[in-house]
Assembly symmetry: D3
Homo-oligomer: 66 residues x 6
């Protein structure tokens, strides 16, 4: 169990690889979630379009707009 409380299940819709970083777009059904991770992680996980994944966010990283 991971302490990070925000977890969104979805499917990888796009993977863009740079030299150092990677951008992963996850379709969660209602909304798209964009994640920026290292290219090394994306390759180690062999992330590709269609993969079932969970986007995870620590609650201290979530802001509120009203």
């Amino acid at each position: 169990m991971l302490s990070a409380r925000n977890q969104f299940k979805g499917t990888v819709k796009n993977v863009k690889l740079g030299t150092v970083m990677a951008e992963i777009v996850v379709d969660t059904g209602n909304v798209e979630v964009v994640s920026i991770i290292s290219r090394g992680s994306a390759e180690h996980m062999t992330l590709k379009v269609g993969d079932k994944v969970t986007a995870i966010i620590k609650s201290t990283e979530v802001m509120i707009e009203k």
Copy 2:
């Protein structure tokens, strides 16, 4: 327009105030999003149950689990 690409509209379901921090639970219809902000911000925005808000997350803060 804000550079942070992950924005989830919802309704405040719970506000818990500590001395320094505040925890805001936002019901986005499908999932709950938990946000930790400063108590000062929560008070300045007069956040309360029922408020229409947007939870916002910078994409570099989103991890992927597969």
Copy 3:
């Protein structure tokens, strides 16, 4: 109103685009603020030198050195 309490108004001084990321340098009058966002956000906002912008930082991301 956004919960993030640190907001610095300024003018975009430089934009450097990578494949995935972008570096934005903001001149705030007294100091320069460097922001790293996704290239996708920079393009979506059509950020360019001379734009009037605000650099925004969540207070939990600020460290103190003494």
Copy 4:
């Protein structure tokens, strides 16, 4: 030398201690910077009003609003 590129020199204007966290307000001359750190760090550094400090922010934590 620290990799974090955003460094704002100033004077501690207020310290608020919670059980776990601490809020430090730094007057940088032009703007106030609000920092949330652990109470443990604030005590270890014996942070108090009037201290000369530097507020430090990693550039990946800075968003842009236009």
Copy 5:
């Protein structure tokens, strides 16, 4: 498999609970790692001294000092 590449196995040495936040000290053998998570997460995971845990950090959150 989680994209966050920094993972340190250890044993919980101390748990301090505030109203909103919790501080967890993890003994990893060589060094202590301090983690600040929400009290809600600490309670949901029933974190207590002696628990075998892994401290996890996204690589974009790691700074370098030289």
Copy 6:
């Protein structure tokens, strides 16, 4: 003294430079720590293999898995 409480001394094992970002792998003896910083910072610090460095992490960025 810096408020960030997690500091791991080590030696730079690898530097990968992208257009905007840089990945620094630090060998801390027991574990490797991966840091993503801006290329600008890596160049300003002239980071190279063999450099003695400290990897630094703010405690609010550390998650716990149990």
